[in-house]
C-alpha cells in the first residue's frame, strides 16, 4: 500500500487529492513538514509559486522537501509545482526546491486571457490528454537525463527525470486520471525498489 501527499500550503490541493483517491490510492494534505515522513510520493499542486515559496520558507519546509526528493521518493509538480521543482527559473537568480534539471519560464503563454485548453499527446500516458493551461510556465531547456513527455507548439510542457515528474498544465482540473495514475505507478516502482 502506498500513500500520496499533496503539499497543502495553497492552490488546487483538494482537486489533486480527489484525483489520487479516484485512482484508488490513499492521499493526505501536507500542512506540516513532519507529515512528509508518512508519504511515499508528493504532489506539488498548481497555485501561485511565489506565494507557495513564501509559505515553504515560513514553515521551514525547504530542507525536508529537498531531502524527500534526494532520498528517491517521487515528486510530481503541476504548473506552479513545476516551477518549484526546476533548477533554473528564467529571470530569477535562485531556484526553489531545484531538484529537476530543467529551466522554466513563468507565465510563458501570456496572461489569463491567453490561457487555454488543448488535447495533448503525452508519451506513455495518452494520445489525447485534455490539458488545461492557466498562466502556464513551459520548460525552456531540459538536461541530458530529462525525458520529454509532451510538447505544445514546440514547447516542452511535460517531462520526467527519474523519479521527478513535472507538467505545465493542470491534470487535476479534469476527470482524466491517466497522468495521476502514471505518477502513482512511479511511486509504486520507487517503493518496491526501496524494499528490494
Amino acid at each position: 500500500m502506498i500513500k500520496i501527499g499533496v503539499l497543502g500550503l495553497q492552490g488546487a490541493v483538494r482537486e489533486h487529492i480527489k484525483a489520487v483517491l479516484a485512482c484508488g490510492v490513499e492521499a493526505i494534505e501536507i500542512k506540516h513538514k513532519e507529515q512528509l515522513q508518512e508519504v511515499d510520493g508528493l504532489i506539488l499542486p498548481g497555485g501561485e509559486s511565489t506565494t507557495m515559496r513564501r509559505l515553504i520558507d515560513k514553515y521551514d519546509f525547504m530542507n525536508d522537501l529537498i531531502k524527500f526528493a534526494t532520498s528517491g521518493k517521487p515528486m510530481f509538480g503541476t504548473c506552479a509545482g513545476l516551477i518549484l521543482l526546476a533548477k533554473r527559473i528564467i529571470g530569477q537568480d535562485v531556484p526553489h526546491i531545484g531538484v529537476m534539471d530543467i529551466a522554466v519560464e513563468r507565465n510563458s503563454f501570456g496572461r489569463q486571457r491567453e490561457s487555454f485548453e488543448v488535447d495533448l499527446m503525452i508519451k506513455d500516458v495518452a494520445e489525447d490528454f485534455p490539458a488545461v493551461f492557466i498562466r502556464a510556465p513551459h520548460i525552456v531547456e531540459a538536461g541530458g537525463n530529462v525525458e520529454v513527455l509532451a510538447k505544445h507548439e514546440g514547447r516542452i510542457v511535460a517531462a520526467r527525470e527519474g523519479h521527478i515528474l513535472g507538467c505545465s498544465f493542470h491534470p487535476e482540473l479534469t476527470d482524466d486520471t491517466r497522468l495521476t495514475n502514471y505518477f502513482i505507478e512511479m511511486v509504486k516502482e520507487a517503493k518496491s525498489k526501496q524494499f528490494a
Partner: protein
C-alpha cells in the same frame, strides 16, 4: 485549442484557493502585497473605505494605475468594473487584467442587469449574499464568487452572514430530492440548471471567497473556518499602521486558520487595525451590499 472556456476561467480561481487577494492602489503597494505572499492583487484607484469617505460616483480605476500594478508584479492582477458597465469591463479585458470584479463597491452603471459574463474571454468574480444571487451570477458566467459583506467597514458581520447563508442553502439543496429542485429554483430566483449542477457536485461549481469587512488575521481565519475558499482584503491592509506586517499576518492566518497559537502569535503588536463602522449606523443608501440583485 480553446481559450476562455469555463474550465480555464474557473480553474484560474481554483489556483487562488487558500490564498489572500489584496486591494492595492499603486505599484509600491502591489509589491508589498506580493512580497507578503498575496496570490493576486486588486488594482484600484481608492480602497473601499476611501470610496465611502469620498462619496460621489466611484468608477473603474484609471488604466494607468492598472498598468502600473500589472508591470510591478508577476502574480495575477484583478480590477473592478461597475455592475453592468459593459465598456469598463471590455477596457479592463483589453488592458489584459487577469480577472474582473463586477463590483458593488463601485457605483452601479445598471440597476437592472448585470454583465453577460459568458461573452468575455477574461473571467469574472461577483459578490453574493445568498444562494439565489450566487446561482444567478454563475448563470451569467461568473467563474468565481465572493461574499459581498459590507465593504470598507472593517466589520466582518455581513461577510459572516453571507457565507453562512450560502453554505446553509447549499447543504439544504444537496439534501433535497431532485423533485424539489424546480420549486427551490423558483423560490430562490435561481437558474434551475445551476441548482442541478450544485446538487450533483455537492458544492458550488466555482470557488467562493470571503470579502467585505475582513480587518484582522482572526477575521480571515474565521472566514476560512466558515468555509471560504480564500480571502479578499480591501481596506484592512493598507489602512493599518504597518501594512507589510499586517499583510503577512493575514496570509499566515488564512493558511493556518485552525492553528490558534500561531494566530495569537502573529496578531501581537500589529498596531491599530482600521477603525471600522457599526453596520446599523450606515444609512440605507450607504449599504454597498444592496447594490445589484
Amino acid at each position: 485549442m480553446k481559450i476562455g472556456t469555463d474550465r480555464v476561467k474557473r480553474g484560474m480561481a481554483e489556483m487562488q484557493k487558500g490564498g489572500v487577494i489584496m486591494d492595492v492602489v499603486n505599484a509600491e503597494q502591489a509589491k508589498i502585497a506580493e512580497e507578503a505572499g498575496a496570490v493576486a492583487v486588486m488594482a484600484l484607484e481608492r480602497v473601499p473605505s476611501d470610496i465611502r469617505a469620498a462619496g460621489g460616483v466611484a468608477r473603474m480605476a484609471d488604466p494607468r494605475i492598472v498598468e502600473e500594478v500589472m508591470g510591478a508584479v508577476t502574480i495575477p492582477v484583478m480590477a473592478k468594473a461597475r455592475i453592468g458597465h459593459i465598456v469598463e469591463a471590455r477596457v479592463l479585458e483589453a488592458l489584459g487584467v487577469d480577472y474582473i470584479d463586477e463590483s458593488e463597491v463601485l457605483t452601479p452603471a445598471d440597476e437592472e442587469f448585470h454583465l453577460n459574463k459568458k461573452e468575455f474571454t477574461v473571467p469574472f468574480v461577483c459578490g453574493c449574499r445568498d444562494l439565489g444571487e450566487a446561482a444567478r451570477r454563475i448563470g451569467e458566467g461568473a467563474s468565481m464568487l465572493r461574499t459581498k459583506g459590507e465593504p470598507g467597514t472593517g466589520n466582518i458581520v455581513e461577510a459572516v452572514r453571507h457565507m453562512r447563508k450560502v453554505n446553509a442553502q447549499v447543504r439544504k439543496l444537496v439534501a433535497m430530492s431532485e423533485d424539489e429542485l424546480m420549486t427551490e429554483a423558483k423560490l430562490l430566483g435561481a437558474p434551475y440548471e445551476i441548482l442541478v449542477e450544485i446538487k450533483r457536485l455537492g458544492h458550488l461549481p466555482v470557488v467562493n471567497f470571503a470579502a467585505g469587512g475582513v480587518a484582522t488575521p482572526a477575521d480571515a481565519a474565521l472566514m476560512m473556518q466558515l468555509g471560504a475558499d480564500g480571502v479578499f482584503v480591501g481596506s484592512g491592509i493598507f489602512k493599518s499602521e504597518n501594512p507589510a506586517k499586517f499583510a503577512r499576518a493575514i496570509v499566515e492566518a488564512t493558511t493556518h486558520y485552525q492553528d490558534y497559537k500561531l494566530i495569537a502569535e502573529i496578531s501581537k503588536d500589529l498596531g491599530v487595525a482600521m477603525k471600522g463602522i457599526e453596520i446599523s449606523s450606515l444609512a440605507p443608501e450607504a449599504r454597498m451590499q444592496d447594490r445589484g440583485w
